[in-house]
């Protein structure tokens, strides 16, 4: 817990001066509050002795001064501390992105799932409170406690001790009690919330199935029951919180009682000037203002530390090797060769790829076909250096892949990944992702070539149309076309297309295949596909089944052989896409 806190503070340390400033302002604000109450009481107590008005003049100015200062200082304290908070949030976000961006793609693929990312981003969000609700309150409380302890000590050290005991109980005892009472509640809440989320998402996305199976009532009663539990625990939590709030106020009042008990005999004995008696007693009320936010701070601390722990864990995942690559240069045109490549994701599971040879000499057109799960996309991941391979070699321009910087390699490749991801931004931004400087004429030309021109013209906002959640507002085929367009816009010497014609209707498919043919004319083309269409003029077709190459050759050769390729084609010919 403590090491996490230190690491967290270290990450936040870029803003330490801002935080110091905000804390000092916080201290002065509460100080003004105390000053206001004390001078006001002083005026009243002094006046009761009927002195000349001149003796009150200073205090009258003082009371106004503190009154105004309290408001003004609090304003600046709030503005600065919130500003720091948001700066910190930006800082944490970029820090997290910076830490996660260089992760090995292999590691990244493991948490591609939306839930995990959502959780991580919530964790980052939780850190937002680090200054405002965690660092600042105890800092201010300590400053106030020390200075008022000294102040009260000037009059009576006993009273000072009573005050500090009251403050300690309110600032530390009550939070500890709170932690004890709340034990486990927080975790239960988190669990129930995530459970509620999952059941809600299941219910929303699977509503059709639930209705058809007449299970909607059951499912949603379950959801309601979880919500009920969740609300009940929230309530329990709030009850404890308000109980502790009431206890804090009680502590304050008991501290007043203690102060009375100490100071009354001293007034009677003449050891304490009676005028200051009321001032010190009522001053206690204002001093306690400093410790009231502490219980909340401790609660937030717990939450933030858990979040921080999770984030540090992710960040600790394997980074991309830092050692400098041996080669920083790749020619514009070069050959790629794969020799005896074998690979498995998990040593306990079977081989995903087994002894693969590929010849991707400059300008060669190769297709890898096979049923899903045969390892086709894994080859792409290895060619992109997303996973380290176990056996065999991949050569880029006769040098091993691992000798290069990955980013350098990626500049030479136009890749259409299997899982296409469209960003929730405009269509234009999605298309320009690969080359932001593309001219409008080139962009429009590509959009037309790919068969999206008409569709886009019909959209009310054209290229500025928003691509919805996961690009949902576009059909699967259209999303595919968008992804293809941006891949082609990159215009690199090597094209790697993973399932370029997935989700396309036959007519669009034919058109797209034609586009691929034209655009790859002077390029190396590696096409991964489960559609056996448009492969007739490939230099080589590689049939991959369960990680092994079982057939290879030209279309004509494979058809004549009447093997696996031929059978797959039979199945496909039976299908018409509607």
């Amino acid at each position: 817990m403590i090491p996490t806190l230190f690491r967290l503070v270290k990450v936040a340390s870029a803003f330490k001066w801002w935080m110091v400033l905000a804390s000092i302002l916080g201290f002065l604000t509460i100080g003004s509050s105390i000053g206001l109450v004390m001078t006001a009481t002083y005026i009243v107590a002094k006046a009761a002795l009927h002195p000349s008005i001149a003796e009150l003049q200073m205090s009258i100015v003082g009371v106004r001064f503190f009154g105004i200062m309290r408001g003004v200082l609090r304003y600046f304290e709030r503005v600065i501390s919130h500003d720091v908070t948001f700066r910190l949030l930006t800082h944490f976000r970029t820090w997290f992105y910076k830490s996660i961006e260089p992760l090995k793609p292999a590691e990244m693929m493991k948490f591609r799932s939306g839930d995990l990312f959502t959780r991580l981003l919530n964790d980052v969000q939780n850190l937002e409170n680090v200054y405002l609700r965690i660092i600042a309150p105890p800092l201010v409380a300590v400053m106030i406690s020390i200075s008022t302890f000294i102040l009260y000590g000037l009059f009576s050290w006993y009273a000072a001790f009573v005050l500090i005991i009251g403050l300690l109980f309110a600032g530390i005892g009550i939070p500890l009690l709170s932690a004890k009472l709340r034990k486990g509640l927080g975790e239960k809440l988190v669990l129930l919330r995530s459970e509620m989320n999952i059941v809600a998402i299941d219910g929303i996305q699977g509503l059709a199935d639930l209705l058809v199976f007449n299970q909607a009532d059951d499912h949603f009663s379950h959801l309601k029951a979880i919500s009920k539990q969740y609300v009940n625990i929230q309530r329990k939590n709030m009850l404890i919180e308000s109980l502790l709030g009431a206890l804090s106020v009680l502590t304050l009042n008991l501290t007043i009682v203690g102060t009375l008990l100490i100071l009354i005999p001293r007034v009677s004995s003449g050891a304490l000037d009676a005028v200051y008696f009321s001032v010190l007693v009522l001053g206690v009320i204002a001093v306690f203002e400093a410790v009231l936010p502490i219980p909340e701070a401790i609660q937030n601390l717990e939450k933030s530390l858990k979040s921080a722990d999770r984030l540090f864990e992710v960040i600790a995942l394997q980074k991309q090797e830092k050692q400098p690559p041996a080669y920083n240069f790749l020619r514009e045109k070069f050959d790629i060769r794969v020799e005896g490549l074998s690979f498995c994701y998990d040593k306990n599971q079977g081989m995903v790829l087994d002894d693969i040879d590929l010849d991707l000499s400059m300008g060669r057109k190769v297709a890898i076909v096979g049923p899903s799960g045969s390892g086709k996309s894994t080859i792409v991941n290895l060619l992109l250096d997303f996973w380290p391979y176990d056996q065999g070699k991949i050569y880029y321009d006769n040098k091993e892949l691992t000798e290069y910087n990955r980013d350098l390699i990626l500049t030479k490749l136009s890749v259409l990944p299997q899982n296409i991801y469209l960003f929730s931004t405009t269509l234009r931004d999605n298309l320009l992702l690969t080359r932001p400087t593309t001219q409008d004429s080139v962009l429009n030309d590509m959009v037309n070539k790919i068969g999206l021109g008409l569709k886009i013209n019909n959209l009310p906002d054209g290229l500025e149309s928003w691509v919805g959640e996961m690009g949902y507002r576009f059909s699967g085929g259209e999303r595919q076309q968008i992804a293809l367009a941006r891949t082609f816009l990159k215009d690199a010497p090597i094209l790697i297309l993973d399932e370029p014609t997935a989700n396309l209707d036959p007519i669009t498919e034919m058109e797209i295949l034609q586009v691929i043919r034209t655009l790859s004319e002077r390029k190396t083309l590696l096409m991964i596909t489960h559609r056996l269409t448009g492969l007739t003029d490939m230099d080589e077709i590689v049939v991959l089944v369960e990680g092994r190459i079982i057939e290879r050759g030209s279309h004509r050769k494979l058809m004549a052989k009447k093997g696996y390729y031929y059978q797959m084609l039979q199945i496909q010919e039976d299908v018409f896409i509607g």
Partner: protein, 574 residues
């Protein structure tokens, strides 16, 4: 002033805890006044009357008792406020859930599912502060100052007047500043959810960014978006803080004015010390409630912003409202007739179905074919009662489908969709959803028929394997076979089948085809067909285009005279 009618209406059902909240707040206030009273006597007696500690001990004991009672009442006050909020949160969540079900799958598919579930969970949670803090405070900050005034006026008219004049300033400023802050805050809420969506988007698309060598650029973009958010939020907050400052200044200066005022009157012996100190103790309490209103107003604002989204959902119009209670239905001879059925999706320009007439005779196998967007899925959705035709009607053995109870009707249907949804449950539960009372044995048999049993048993946890984000993901072919297993388990009289896409693994394709053939035996089958083999097996092929039925007949006859169908057959494979 920040009082949402929809939100206030919710209070009607929880009047008692809400009123108790106010009542306990009043009790607590009375205790505060009594505390001030006894404390002022103690201070007075010691300061001016030179009393010793034993002479004021009973007063100190009273003070202690009032303190304890005050703590109890204030706790009860919060407890009742939470009761109100808890009740309303649960109530609203239930209403929202029911609403989503009534809006149906056509709605949930068109909306962003994440946003709906977010409204359902976090959105409703953010109403808490509105009901447990803001609303009660609104009443309390009127009642408590009034109570204090009742005690102050008899003692010191002038202080009472100062209180009375300064008090309304606080709500007034709040109102003036609050209105513009309210608008800004709503905007801010939208901005915040858009910003979180942006970060999620960037992280989810990180691999894509990497592939295109853009991931480093996005660091800059993240900080830009985040900083932009900071600036705009600070704009909102500055206004909120400014309003808070004005409130504090009013409160602080009023305390100062009162201190000076009573000080001067004391000086000239127009007032006695005890009364002066009594008023001085109460002054901060008097303004405290009003100041609290300021902070809680802010907390409440977030709630009203979320409420907007909640009530927008709750007030969406539903089509499926007529009472459909008919259960009597001749199961044996199901003649399904579409008569002049027209349907347009909400917000769409073109009709998805345009005066469609179809007759499906009992126990026949029907295949719908047609290009994308022809209306095939819409037909099945109507048949599944996910929505109601805009005009025309669907008759089931002469009974209008509209009048048949949905549960009763759906009990007789099995539906295999093309993009199967698997729930975050175990494999067993995912199959059993088709028939929850089925025995494990029956599930095994269904899975065997769907050719997925062997695969399931090969998993480490077998049928207890958890699916979804926390468990494992099934491939498309596996998920398809799970939905087939569901259909086997349900064994309904009518099968609506959105034919699974072909699987190029000859072995798996074979398995799925076999399973579907087996499933199709002895029942009415309505297929959205994608394979020639399937179409050839159909009794009647109905070809659709742009929402209209264009051709009907057998494969043979359509190949001879048809146009669209023949084109599709000829274009297949390629």
């Amino acid at each position: 002033m920040n009082l949402d009618k929809n939100l206030l209406a919710l209070l009607k059902t929880t009047k008692i805890p809400f009123l108790l909240t106010i009542l306990f707040a009043l009790f607590a206030t009375v205790m505060i006044i009594l505390q001030a009273d006894t404390l002022s006597y103690v201070l007075n007696d010691v300061f001016l009357a030179d009393k010793k500690i034993h002479q004021v001990s009973s007063l100190i004991i009273y003070f202690t008792i009032y303190s304890i009672l005050r703590a109890i009442f204030s706790w009860l006050e919060h407890s009742q406020a939470n009761k109100t909020a808890s009740y309303i949160k649960q109530e609203l969540r239930e209403q929202l859930v029911d609403k989503i079900v009534r809006l149906g799958p056509v709605f949930t598919r068109s909306e962003e599912s994440g946003e709906i579930s977010n409204t359902l969970t976090a959105g409703i949670d953010s109403l808490d502060a509105y009901f447990s803090q803001y609303l009660p405070q609104l009443l309390i900050s009127v009642l408590v100052p009034l109570t204090i005034l009742v005690f102050v006026f008899p003692i010191d008219l002038l202080s009472g007047i100062v209180f009375l004049i300064t008090a309304p300033l606080i709500p007034l400023f709040m109102f003036l500043i609050g209105n513009s802050a309210d608008k800004l805050s709503k905007k801010q809420w939208k901005k915040m959810s858009r910003m979180s969506a942006f970060f999620l988007d960037v992280f989810q698309g990180l691999l894509t960014l990497k592939i295109f060598g853009r991931s480093k650029d996005y660091l800059h973009k993240i900080s830009e978006v985040s900083e932009d958010f900071r600036r705009s939020t600070m704009k909102v907050l500055r206004i909120a803080f400014l309003s808070a400052m004005v409130l504090e200044l009013v409160a602080a200066l009023s305390t100062a004015i009162i201190a000076v005022e009573i000080g001067l009157r004391l000086l000239y012996a127009k007032m006695i010390f005890r009364e002066a100190i009594f008023i001085l103790i109460l002054a901060p309490e008097f303004y405290q409630t009003l100041r609290l209103l300021g902070t809680r107003f802010h907390a409440g604002m977030e709630g009203t912003a979320a409420a907007e989204r909640i009530f927008k959902l709750l007030h969406l119009s539903e089509t499926n409202e007529e009472s459909a209670m008919l259960r009597q239905e001749k199961v044996s001879s199901k003649l399904i007739i579409f008569r002049n059925v027209t349907y347009t999706y909400p917000g769409a320009i073109h009709r998805a179905l345009d005066r469609v007439n179809i007759v499906i005779e009992p126990d026949k196998k029907i295949a719908f074919v047609g290009p994308k967007g022809a209306g095939k899925s819409t037909l099945t959705y109507l048949l599944l009662k996910f929505m109601v035709p805009d005009s025309g009607e669907i008759l089931i053995s002469d009974f209008p489908l509209n009048s048949i109870e949905p549960e009763f009707w759906r009990a007789q249907l099995s539906w295999v969709s093309q993009d199967p949804f698997l729930f975050h449950r175990t494999v067993m539960d995912n199959i059993k959803i088709a028939r929850p009372l089925a025995t494990d044995e029956q599930v095994y048999i269904a899975a065997q028929k769907a050719h997925i049993h062997d695969y399931i048993t090969s998993l480490n946890n077998g049928y207890d394997t958890l699916l979804g984000e926390r468990g494992i993901r099934f491939s498309g072919g596996e998920a398809q076979r799970i939905t087939l297993a569901r259909a086997f388990l349900k064994d309904a009289a009518i099968l609506i089948l959105d034919e699974p896409t072909a699987n190029l693994d000859p072995e798996i394709e074979q398995k799925i085809t076999e399973a579907i053939d087996e499933l199709s035996r002895n029942r009415m089958v309505i297929t959205i067909a994608h394979k020639l083999k399937t179409v050839k097996k159909a009794d009647i092929i109905i070809a659709l285009s742009e929402g209209k039925v264009v051709e009907t007949g057998s494969h043979q006859s359509l190949m001879e005279k048809g146009t669209i169908y023949r084109k599709m057959v000829e274009a297949r494979g390629v």
